[in-house]
Each structure stands twice: as C-alpha cells, then as structure tokens.
Symmetry: C2
Subunit: 229 residues, 2 copies
C-alpha cells in the first residue's frame, strides 16, 4: 500500500498492478465504485496517476470508466464467463499449435514445476499458478498480439476462478487434465495437445457454469450477476 518506489512513471504501473491483483483476488468486489480521491489517499499520491491506472485497468476489462462517473469494478456473470471461455477455447489451442515446434524440454520442465506447485498450493494461489501454467505453454508461439489477447482473457478467467473454486472437485480434475496435456506436449503431439487443451477449457467452463447456476439458485433466484452488490 505504501509508496515503495518514487521513480517517475513507474508509479502508475505499480498502482495499476496492485489494483489489478485486488480485483482479480476479489478483495475489491465486482460493482465496487472506485473514487479517485480515495485511491489517491490509499496510494499516497494525487488523482492524476490514479486516473492513468484506471485507464490501464479498463483496457484489461477489470473496471469500466464512464465519463463523469466513478470507475466501477466490472461485474461478473455467467454469460460473460461463457463468452470468455469460448474465446479462450478458440485462441489458446491456436497459440499452442504454433508454440509446440518451439517448445524445448526446458520450457516443459518449467511448466511441470509450475504444475507441481499448483497441486500443493492453497486455494488463493491456485488460480495464479493455473494462469502461469497456461501461459508457460503458449509463450514460445512467437505471436505477441495473440499472447496479449490470451493474457487479457486469462486475467478475466482468473477472477471467475477465484470466485468459484471453493470446492476442490474441479481442481482435482484440472490437475489431471494439465498432466495429460503436458504428456502430449512432451510427445510433441500437436493435434492431441490442442484437442486436450480445448477440452480442458470447455470442462472448466461447464464446471464453473454449473456452480454459478447453483450459487445463483441459493442466493437470489431471479438475479443474474454473481455480485450485484
């Protein structure tokens, strides 16, 4: 929270990153209105870098910044999650297909290590490591725009994971699927790897959508948003 680095320019990025984590981890609930003055106080700075940070977060789809109104942490809902999953299921296998010819064993060992860590990790760090695992496999695809697109989708996905991964049945299956995917990558079997990845993303979608349906049924029947606050 405190001002650790006073270097010019870096501050804005630092604030954006801290806010990003707060949002992704759910500390800043969906629908929360972010007052510029409050944030300025929290980060011991003026409103100018705060406004810059909010623009960066808007680009990542984590807040909406309507003119003349307070910025708002974007809401989560089932349709949105389904859409994000659909886009990932399309784009990530493409990236993996291009990455596989460039994947060295070193790359795969890094992915393996991340996965091992994820399997013993707490619920809080799971979604972070899950994201890192996916990123590590597609990283060598040599397509910066595609990677940026996936990173953005991955961040959005992480938010939903943090919210919905409270029971561990999905997590166990996810680990199995990651292991299987790793095997296909080690074998450099592009078709199988891409197919497994697509399935994995769709599995996650279906599991979480089912959970969201349940949660909705319990909390408020008619509503739609997870956290209308």
């Amino acid at each position: 929270m405190a001002k650790t680095s006073t270097r010019n320019g870096a501050r804005t990025l630092q604030i954006a990153e801290e806010l990003r984590q707060s949002i992704v981890r759910g500390e800043l609930a969906p629908g929360t209105v972010l007052r510029q003055e409050d944030l300025a106080k929290r980060f011991e700075t003026s409103r100018t870098p705060i406004r810059d940070s909010l623009r960066l977060l808007e680009r990542q789809g984590l807040v909406s910044v309507p003119t003349n109104k307070g910025a708002e942490v974007t809401l989560l809902n089932a349709d949105d999650f389904a859409e994000i999953s659909e886009m990932r299921a399309l784009a990530e296998p493409l990236a993996l297909r291009h990455a596989i010819p460039n994947l060295t064993n070193r790359h795969l060992e890094v992915a393996e290590r991340i996965q091992a860590k994820a399997e013993t990790a707490s619920v809080e760090t799971f979604s972070d490591l899950n994201k890192a695992f996916h990123a590590s496999l597609v990283a060598p695809c040599n397509r910066p725009r595609l990677l940026a697109h996936l990173a953005s989708l991955s961040d959005l996905n992480e938010r939903y994971l943090s919210y919905a991964v409270t029971t561990l049945d999905y997590v166990a299956r996810s680990h199995d699927e990651h292991r299987e995917l790793l095997q296909a990558c080690f074998a450099r079997n592009a078709d199988q790897a891409c197919s497994l990845l697509e399935q994995h993303i769709n599995d996650a979608k279906n599991s979480l959508l089912a959970r969201m349906q349940d949660a909705r049924a319990v909390i408020h029947d008619g509503g739609y948003d997870i956290c209308p606050s």
Copy 2:
C-alpha cells in the same frame, strides 16, 4: 481540429477518435512521435485530456506509450499483419456462426447497402466501408467481448488496407467474395458462410502479404517495416 464541443468528458473521446482516424488513414505515419504539447495545441486543450486519449489509443493498439518517452504511432510489418489476419480468420467466423440465427433480412439489407456503396467508393472510403460490412454481419452475435475484440482487430486491419490497397485487383476480388458471403447469409447456410468468411480473410492476408513483399523489395531490401520512418 477545432474545439466543437466543450462538454466535460466528451472531449477526450472526441480527440481519441480524431487521432484514431488520422492514424488509420495513414495521415499520421507509423513511427511518428506524438508530443503531448503539440497535440494539446492542435486540439486547443491541455495535456491532461491528451494523455487520456493516448491511453485509449494505446488500448486499441494504435500507439505505444512508453513511460517518460513520447507516444509513438505503432509500426506496421508483415508479421504483425499476418498475426492479425490469423486471429480474425479464427474469431470472425465464430461470431458469424452465432450471428446467423439472429440475422434478420433487415440486417442483411443493411449489409447489402454498405457493400453497394463500397463498390462505387473511392480508395479512401473503401477500407472504412469494408470494416462496416464485416461489422454489420457479426453484430447480432450477442457477444460483446467478442465484438470488441473483432472491432479492435478490424481497426488494425484497416490500417494495413489503407496502406496496401493502391491497386484495385484485390478490391475487385474482395467485392466478389463479399457478394458470395451475403448469398450464403441470405440462405442462412452457416457452414458455408463461415467457410467463405475464413477464406475471404485468408485471401486478403495473402494478397496483401504479397504486395508488402514487393514493396519491401523495391524500397529497401534488407528492412522489414513498411514505414520505419
């Protein structure tokens, strides 16, 4: 250029839009450094809204805004164009598939009218109408994130089109493909429409890549960027 509306907040969006057009149309060449003070003078405002605008354009991938350095109109190169085309070839047929069940004849007539206009349009307005045609077909897909993604890719694509569409052989083929695509949509033949759309995007990619190769060979053999300025 002049201040037409002084309403609070709207100014930033207006500036961003005007800059966007300048960049997409090529009036602001790739690699051009954008000085905040210069832009402030041009738009008769202060640097604050200029900085906001630059952030918005950064989100659209039209400028890069490194800290403590001047913002720069992003460069164009063949790899980048190929990547953008690849992403469009994947995402746009998906959107079309979801749109077709919702496509009314009204929608298609609008698309037809845009296409008719495009066929008699000047080179300057062609890329604009081309973008509008594509947008009109996928609009009813009911997936806001996917549409935003496509809009962003479409803007980037427009830049390349503006640069490379100087001869009209590609334009003629593009018109044919658009007409064929429209027929498939009128027939509500989703498979055919999606396949035609994918082909159309790949055709455009190959045509323009070939042109870029030629241009490169003429202007500077070793280089890569179209406009290294």
